[in-house]
Amino acid sequence: MIVADQKPIEEILEILAPYKRVLFLGCQSCVAVCMAGGEKEVGLLAAAVRLARAKSGAPIEIAEGAAKRQCDDEFNEPFGPVIQQQEAVLSLACGVGVNKLAERFAIPILPALNTRFFGKVERQGIWKEVCAGCGDCILHLTGGICPIARCAKNLLNGPCGGVRADGTCEVKRDWPCAWVQIIQRLEELGQLERLLSTRMAAKDWSSDRHGGPRRRVREDMLLEA
């Protein structure tokens, strides 16, 4: 899932300062699951902002809503009439939702979140990055553990010399070394020999965002001829 953080309330108040009528629009997809921008967080944030604005003598009128998925126009469409009446929309979706609303509606669309990473739930309240979306997956070679996302140095021939005595990373103290994990996992799978006998070649980063903005086309799904 896409993991995001809510921006600090001070920053959100600053972003909203010029506006008096705003729709707070959440997204019930990834950011709802990671407790950053779902219906629940819309309610909390709206209440907080109303309180602060009333207190500061500049009240704000907030409409609240949450789209099923803000990255799809069809789910945003029902909010069209409400959006027409606003000065701005504060989107609690990931950056994709903000971009999507901005291309559809002609009023300012403001971000309430900092979109962080593709992550997994570690346990309640903790999420960790496990995929970097590099566009050229090698997880079949590394026992399902991604060194691009989970090694601070993106090593393909790790581990580096900075592994701590307890097997954690020198860069992130509470983060297990991805390469120590990969070696353990491949050993369990009986596939360590393959790792030992081959050097992984330098990565082609052109499929990553280093190759410029990315686009996916599925010809067979295109509606026009």
């Binding site: 309330i9 907080a48 009333a54």
Partner: protein, 144 residues
């Protein structure tokens, strides 16, 4: 004592302790200020942070949450979780420019009728000192 206004204080009380203590205070005919509006929760663990914000938004000048003594929660750890949520909202209030003292968490048992009355007096005095949350009139967005 009321500093010229009758404050509105919402008290979220656990069914197993604070709510029973409030009942006991009544049975014992203990006097405490009428500013409190008591809302019974099955456990303070049920407390949602949105309840706290909504209470302030809807006109409360103060909010208190009263749960069981630590280690005595009927649902093991509901009171501990509630306490963490209250702390988080206190921190948020401060960042919103609202005195965090308007919100407080208390622990007590069902046998402490007098303690309940004392909490009510303490909280009412505290809010009286702080004054109303909104300086004048009706909150512009308060439709209720």
């Amino acid at each position: 004592m009321n500093n010229g206004f009758e404050s509105k204080i919402v008290a979220f009380c656990c069914h197993y302790c604070a709510f029973a203590a409030a009942d006991l205070a009544g049975v014992l005919r203990l006097k405490y200020p009428p500013d409190l509006r008591i809302i019974r929760l099955p456990c303070t663990g049920k407390l949602d942070t949105l309840f706290l914000l909504k209470a302030f938004e809807k006109g409360a000048d103060g909010v208190l949450v009263a749960g069981c003594l630590e280690g005595s929660c009927h649902f093991i750890s509901g009171n501990l979780r509630a306490k963490k949520r209250v702390l988080a909202v206190k921190n948020l209030l401060e960042r919103l420019g609202i005195e965090k003292e308007r919100l407080e968490f208390f622990n007590l048992s069902s046998a402490q009728g007098e303690r309940f009355a004392q909490i009510a007096r303490e909280m009412t005095e505290r809010i009286a000192k702080l004054g109303p949350l909104r300086s004048s009139g009706r909150c512009p967005y308060d439709r209720g």
